[in-house]
């Protein structure tokens, strides 16, 4: 066809630095929202296990909302609608910083906290109730029983789905481009606009995404081998 592949124009100079920045932002976004998601997921599970009806009901609704509304819509909602609802001081504080990135982290983190809390909950529910009772009988508090007896066992069962959700979180961090976060997909579009080397840019981006995804899948497989579920 007379088309000459030219990876050099994509992988040198200014374009390389754009690409590197994209990788860095994707990493920052994924790691920050993963931490937020996991922390929130633990809190959500504790609330749901607490036995307080209204609180449980609230968490149930929280999970249903985040699982049944497209992630992109959640991201757009945070970016366009939430600033209107926040007090002005908070909006100014966020706008002084990288507002797109902050909202993307919150949206991804909240969404995946719902999925991860469900994964943790199914792990906890798989553990016989007697384990909990035994912990309490031995004199451990509610939180102590959770911390030393239930959670370590539940994590083993929950690990495979948790790794799967980490993979999905990483992949879906690309949605942040819709609100202008300069992550890997956004930067590839930029380079594509600048060089018209569509095939080369997307090949490079896909290879980067794939290598990190395969790394996460590999970690997941190791977990599954070490701790077979059930």
């Amino acid at each position: 066809m007379g088309y000459h592949l030219d990876f050099a124009s994509v992988l040198t100079g200014q374009h390389l630095s754009w690409l590197v920045r994209g990788i860095a932002v994707t990493a920052e976004l994924s790691i920050a929202s993963w931490l937020l998601a996991f922390g929130l997921a633990v809190i959500l599970v504790l609330i749901r296990m607490s036995g307080l009806r209204p609180a449980e009901w609230f968490v149930g609704l929280y999970v249903e909302y985040h699982q049944n509304v497209p992630l992109l819509v959640q991201v757009l909602f945070w970016y366009f609608a939430v600033p209107e609802l926040l007090p002005q001081k908070a909006t100014i504080w966020i706008n002084e910083r990288d507002s797109e990135l902050i909202f993307a982290i919150i949206a991804l983190g909240l969404c995946f906290s719902a999925y991860m809390s469900e994964a943790l909950r199914s792990g906890i529910r798989a553990i016989p109730k007697t384990q909990f009772e035994a912990g309490r009988v031995l004199g451990l508090s509610y939180l102590g029983t959770m911390r030393y007896i239930i959670v370590p066992q539940a994590v083993k069962i929950s690990a495979p789905p948790l790794v799967n959700y980490s993979l999905l979180l990483f992949k879906n961090s690309s949605l942040a481009m819709a609100i202008g976060v300069h992550e890997l997909t956004y930067q590839s579009r930029l380079i594509e606009n600048d060089t018209f080397r569509t095939f080369e840019v997307f090949t490079v981006a896909t290879v980067i995404y794939l290598s990190i995804s395969f790394l996460i899948m590999w970690v997941g497989e190791r977990f599954e081998r070490r701790a077979p579920a059930h």
């Binding site: 509304v69 819509v73 999905l168």
Partner: protein, 244 residues
Amino acid sequence: MWDIMRDQGVLLLIGQYPNGPLGGLVATVLLAILGLALSFPCAILLALGRISPYRAFRSISSAIVQTMRGTPLLLVIFWSYFFLPLVIGHAVSGFTTMVGALVIYESSYLAEVLRSGIEALPKGQVEAARSLGLSYWRTNYLIILPQALFNTLPSLLGQFVSIIKETSLGYVISVNEFTFAAAQVNSVLLTKPVQVFSILAITYFLLCSSLTQTARWLEGRIARRRSGQVGRVVKVMPLPEPAP
């Protein structure tokens, strides 16, 4: 919020149709149905490939499935946005691009659902069919797939919910679907983002959660039906973990 529904409701529901392209919620549902229907045959082939007795087929299908599991849907959309016209030879609409991307991406996920459905069937089913002299294809067509499809019906419905959610990504390449319509309404009204995006989120929520509930109900029904049958060891398929 009600004013917006009254003034912009038609645009949100069907876009500019019949004076322009079909859009809005109807286009979203249509995209999702087409995505599911067209990826289904590809998914069956991929699933059969994943458990094929021939190593070559297994490797090829696994490679396809794992690649799609590792690539963001957004990148798949951009790939088909730029290369579908090259492959077909003429320009294609955003709608077609989106259907293409969904089929490429979803075939792999659907294949995994179908594969687990096939693998949950007792091995004796294949063995019995083969001993009766049925060929590989007739075994699958007459014995394995009908049972596997029935058992995976709830999971397929769950996957359909995922596809509905994924159609929202069409917004990024300006496909006339529900999210795009809402963003358009938002940029016309300018001052009512909370109301517009609430309508958007609530509608998706009602649509998807009612389908999710149906999937759970179906799962319970099929489980009960299966457990009532004597002498058949069929593992009941649990719903797969939901995905965004």
